[in-house]
Amino acid sequence: MANITPEEVIVTDFAVREHRSLWIDAWRRLISSNTARLGMFIVALFVLSAILAHYFWEYDPKVDLDYTLKLKPPTLVANEDVPSVHLFGTDKLGRDIFRRVVHGGWNSLRVGIVAVGISLTVGGLIGLFAGFYENINMTSLERIFLFGFTGLIMGILPAWAAAQPLQAVLMAGLGVAAAYFPNFHKDSINRLWIFAAAGGVVTAVPSLFAGSLVTLVCGVWGILTGALLSRPLEGKFFSNVMMRLMDIVLSFPGYLLAIAIVAFLGPGLEKGMIAIGIVSIPVYARLTRSAVLAVIQKEYILAAQAVGEKHGRIIFRHLTPNILSPIIVQTTMGLANAILSAAALGFLGLGAIPPEPEWGAMLGDSYRYLTSGAWWAVLFPGLAIMLSVLGFNLLGDGLRDALDPKLRT
């Protein structure tokens, strides 16, 4: 037996594994899953082809027109009838469908990203603040802001009725005062009476000039508002109002609401993005809020509060990173949904304005020629929609498994 020198022994300490960050862990889990790899491949294919086509493959939809090539089936080699190669055939204006499908990807991705950006930013912020202040007491500065804002909103009606902005300012002031003196006649019915009376006075007196009935209506409104402001409004109030608003948006079916918003804004790709973005705000708001509620009682939040960190810092430095995983998953799947909704709007003629290439609009353009046998004009744009949506969904599925091993089933 030969002597073994110490250098030849590879010491493996099985108790301590190499240090890896959570994200690297998640990434390894992600690329070890077949379906996630498939999803990544499809997404990469669409993203790359869209970007490359947009920057390196010139296409001007306004001059793309050739009636001699109207509705030709797909060809792989050039022949006498069709002198050029059309992988996916041509549409009713003789345009190459392959080219339009590839360029359409740019528009679909843009819609997806902008729409998800809108709903993620607005919905995410609403959810973050609603979930946070539902559980954490507001600081006096925040309470002043909340009360002042509530007063301002409530003061708009009397200000409008009496045709002068003074009441809104006075009501805001009353709100600030209510927040500034939270202990003034606390736990006593007197607080209610005092604030109600103050509210009545600050709205009724400035509207004396506008007529006696105006004074009466404003005064009643002011008394009610004053009574509301005398209550110890907390984050729960804010959260309730916000979530109720989200419920209202959610009680409209997505497509109809999007169609109505587009009808209001006018057709166009940009309007479509906004409509789809608005429609899915509540999804993100609810998701973020429930994610916040799941971690808000954790020790690190308590610790951050205990050392006196500012609320903004707790929200964005401690809370946000810890609720990222469900939001990343929802964002990926949201991209899929946005692409699908954009295609639906385009199909109904409410999305991209022709001749701009967009998958849904291409379908809507060509489906009347289905009965005359032009299947290629419908098949390929639809396949592009389905595959890209499937890609994002597969990726989102894989991300869910990778980011949250507890959910792994």
């Binding site: 109720r244 109809l256 639906a344 419908v378 499937l390």
Partner: protein, 350 residues
């Protein structure tokens, strides 16, 4: 329990008020003057003004400041919104601007058409989605599992209008097996009893008519069913997997019960709660989201009707149709919540 139901009803009220408010805002914010839409481009100023007067379109939207300044309290509240709410409470939905048919009348015909389509789609989605989910969970990580899960993801990713077009191309244009659109073939009479034609034709005992109705409804129903099918299959699978890890399932297997018995008697029962929830939620989406399917198959339902109403500025239709859809939506969600509380005694709501 009844306490919970009452509190839940109260919490729905602000949502309902908000819904009516949003619907009101939409029909007023959509550009275009309804009076001009009604009379056409060539109407005289005078007749337009008279019509605006007649429909109250010359009133302010919410509150009348000038009436208040004049000391007229009733005039202060006499606005378009208040009139609209009054009409709602007296269940008067007005009549279509273009066709002059009462909205409620059209609704009574069109709403059952959408319901029939949605119910059949949901039926298809359930009888395929749930077994697929159960099998995937039982054969976890097998080839069957992977295939059916990717398959259900394809279902979720399906642009239903495209699937509908492909169906038409295959079965109506190429094979000529099924009609490409509509609800009823020519020359077939159905006595409307429930206005669900499948039920009506059976009630009449007319199997010829039933066959025809079925041939018309099956393609749109399948197109509409793909997305909920995928969602139900995935939900069933993950919920079953959760339950199959429980101790009582292991105990049942250990004491010698058969695999199938444990799967269906023990596991499925306890896994069904989230599945029932998702079915309820999808039902609302189906009822409402049928716009696209109805467009492609010229199905005379409510989604298509509202869509045409929005484009044609037919405000009463938009208002009545959206209201019914939103009410069904809110109602289904409410029902699901209550069912949840009834089905799962572990959940305490007070």
């Amino acid at each position: 329990m009844s306490n919970y139901i009452i509190r839940r009803i109260i919490s729905v009220l602000p949502t309902l008020i908000g819904v009516t408010f949003v619907i009101f805002m939409f029909q007023r914010l959509i550009p275009g003057d309804p009076a001009v839409a009604m009379l056409g481009e060539h109407a005289t100023e005078e007749s337009i003004e008279r019509l605006r007067e007649q429909f109250g379109l010359n009133r302010p939207l919410f509150l009348d400041r000038e009436a208040l300044a004049d000391g007229d309290l009733a005039g202060f509240f006499d606005s378009q919104y208040v009139r609209y709410m009054k009409r709602l409470f007296s269940l008067d939905m007005g009549e279509s601007i273009h066709r002059r048919i009462p909205v409620a009348e059209t609704l009574a015909i069109r709403f059952p058409a959408t319901i029939e389509l949605a119910l059949l789609s949901m039926f298809i989605a359930i009888i395929i989605g749930i077994p697929v989910g159960i099998i995937s969970a039982a054969k976890r990580n097998s080839a069957i599992d992977s295939i059916s899960m990717v398959g259900s993801l394809v279902g979720v990713s399906m642009p239903i209008f495209w699937l509908g077009l492909m169906e038409i191309m295959l079965f109506a244009v190429l094979m000529q097996w099924l009609p490409a659109g509509g609800r009823l073939g020519t020359g077939i009479e159905i006595k409307p009893i429930t206005n669900l034609y499948l039920v009506d034709s059976l009630l009449m005992g007319n199997f010829q008519a039933f066959k025809d109705v079925f041939a018309h409804i099956i393609m749109p129903a399948i197109a509409l069913a793909t997305i909920p099918m995928g969602i139900i299959a995935r939900m069933t699978r993950s919920s079953m997997l959760d339950v199959l890890q429980e101790d009582y399932v292991r105990t049942a297997r250990a004491k010698g019960l058969g695999r199938g018995l444990v799967l269906f008697r023990h596991a499925l029962k306890n896994a069904s709660l989230p599945v029932v929830t998702i079915i309820g939620l999808q039902m609302g989406t189906l009822l409402a989201g049928a716009v696209l399917t109805e467009t492609i198959f010229s199905w005379p339902g409510i989604g298509r009707w509202v869509y045409d109403g929005i484009l044609g500025r037919d405000y009463p239709i938009v208002q009545g149709g959206t209201l019914v859809i939103a009410l069904v939506f809110v109602g289904v969600n409410f029902f699901v919540d209550i069912m949840y509380a009834l089905l799962d005694p572990r959940i305490r709501y007070d």
